[in-house]
């Protein structure tokens, strides 16, 4: 089965600190994308960052970066200088099962403490 797993249901961090959210996946595919989405209380999913499996360099978007370990099938998200607006559900996802459809993890609820 091709799955995405997030083992941390909840995480919390002090404002301005750094936090890392974990994600592992299982696939026999060689070419795929990995994503982190943010879902605030408004329910609208927002793409935070993406990584193509063929690229060895870890993706970075401002305060957000990933640690992609292909052999270990691990894809963690690091948020630096956490801000109150970062509080949300974070979902790891991938197009493991096909070119278009996305497979999502169970989500991690991130709380930012002022």
């Amino acid at each position: 089965a091709q799955t995405v797993t997030q083992s941390q249901p909840e995480m919390s961090v002090q404002e301005a600190e750094t936090v890392t959210l974990s994600c592992t996946y299982d696939t026999s595919e060689s070419d795929y994308y990995l994503f982190w989405y943010k879902q605030p209380p408004s329910r609208q999913m927002i793409l935070v960052i993406r990584q193509e499996a063929y690229k060895q360099q870890n993706a970075t978007e401002n305060r957000f970066s990933v640690n992609f370990q292909k052999a270990a099938k691990s894809f963690s998200l690091k948020i630096s200088d956490s801000q109150l607006g970062d509080a949300a559900m974070y979902f790891c996802a991938s197009n493991l099962q096909g070119a278009q459809k996305l497979v999502f993890g169970q989500g991690t609820r991130l709380t930012i403490n002022p």
Binding site: Y32, R43, Q44, A93, Q100, K101, L102, V103, F104, Q106
Partner: protein, 117 residues
């Protein structure tokens, strides 16, 4: 520009009734997706439309679920004879075309929260 819109925002219905959920994709986007998010869970793929091609219905959980896309734009997800386990948030997304998921970002709507009593 306008994003993906969905209506209604919330829907409460009685067990056994039929419901229709609507999705308006971003103008010009040819690919449209429906996902379901049960309480405390991640998103589950339901169905995918790309242009005039036959839709990928592989994620529909039962034959009570169906979806159509008229004129390559608006889509309606219909659930017949609703059951309590159908209670969830139904999210729609669209992308510029149906290429690889990473090549074309999926933009999500705010979802419809369906509650079946």
């Amino acid at each position: 520009g306008a994003g993906v819109s969905q209506s209604p925002s919330n829907k409460v219905t009685e067990k056994g009734k039929d419901v229709e959920l609507r999705c308006d994709p971003i103008s010009g986007h040819t690919a449209l997706y429906w996902y379901r998010q049960s309480l405390g869970q991640g998103l589950e793929f339901l169905i995918y439309f790309q242009g005039n091609s036959a839709p990928d219905k592989s994620g529909l959980p039962s034959d009570r679920f169906s979806a159509e896309r008229t004129g390559g734009s608006v889509s309606t997800l219909t659930i017949q004879r609703t059951q309590q386990e159908d209670s969830a948030v139904y999210l729609c997304a669209s992308s510029l075309d149906g290429g690889r998921a990473g090549d074309n970002e999926q933009f999500f709507g705010p979802g419809t929260r369906l509650t079946v009593l």
